[in-house]
Symmetry: C5
Subunit: 91 residues, 5 copies
């Protein structure tokens, strides 16, 4: 799983009923020190994430389908949580 | 899922009936600011995308098979939508 | 499978019962000579790994679900072992 | 899916009957302008591809197994077509 | 599939019976001209590969499970062959 920051949204015409009323967010991957990298992906939102929030993303189809609760949904990347806190240990 | 721009097409002799009459498009991945990167992939078109259009691609076999509606289709990358609008937040 | 070093943890609000009481660790991938690379991922802990420990990670959903013993769990990356010893041959 | 150029072959002793009499080819990924990149993979040939030919590769296990027609075959990368023509649009 | 050179082994405490008595090898990916790259992965050995040998690796869970003959095994990367010969064509 990966961490990213919500940085935008897209509007797309998709010919599959699964995507009706789904939010597609642009998420910028975060570096280990919490900075945006410019390396983004497009993920379906399952948690109501807003712009600027740090989110946890699962980038695997079967996991995404479990979160959605639809075994036939065509998707790979999904936002599964808003990250409340990140603790980095100094080792 | 990823964003790309349709930049070409290929003609290939493929020994599997699934590929009869399918369009195989070359899609150049887009950077977060919407520029082409030269990092491309070959995707089956499911939406009638044209040259120069920005498209949403799912790069996962099971999702692609759901879009096509054929559980046995051999494919991994599929264009699922034409992107009408991208909104980037300044945060 | 890959090697990493546990470098932090995250607290996230996830809307799926699987994640109740699960530890989500930040793991920094190790280079071949055992140094951290800054290229991290977020993995569920299945072994009680602690900060600074070297761990083995499987980054595949079906494997992760087998380790957890739950075929419907939405996850991709899991820590499956603490690495006790690494032996590099000079060849 | 990706494009590559056949640049070699390997002979390997593999302990699984699937690989009896299969050709394993080394395929060099092509850049968007059709040049070899040195970033290669090993793929099973399903089309009789020859050295120097441009080929289409699917790098996904389930697709590869569909092409082979064997649900239990252990493989991930397969050459599915010889590319007859690539058309790049100037946009 | 990819080529690598066995460069080490790891000893890990893994809480899943599948890993009892399995060898976990560190394999350094090879460049197209047969040199080690430092970009390694950890793979289960299914062929008795030794240090310094060039091996073929399948990095896909379902393939790995087929090689092992255990549909429930949690693993992704497996060494499936020792490479006896690589032939690179000059084109």
């Amino acid at each position: 799983m990966i961490l990213g920051r919500v940085c935008g949204s897209i509007v797309s015409t998709i010919n599959h009923e699964f995507y009706d009323n789904k939010r597609l967010l642009m998420v910028d991957r975060l570096s280990i020190d919490g900075k945006v990298t410019g390396n983004y992906l497009i993920a379906v939102d399952s948690v109501g994430a807003g712009a600027g929030e740090t989110v946890l993303i699962i980038d695997e189809g079967n996991s995404a389908r479990q979160i959605i609760g639809d075994k036939t949904a065509p998707l790979r990347s999904i936002i599964v949580g808003v990250v409340d806190q990140t603790t980095i240990q100094s080792i």
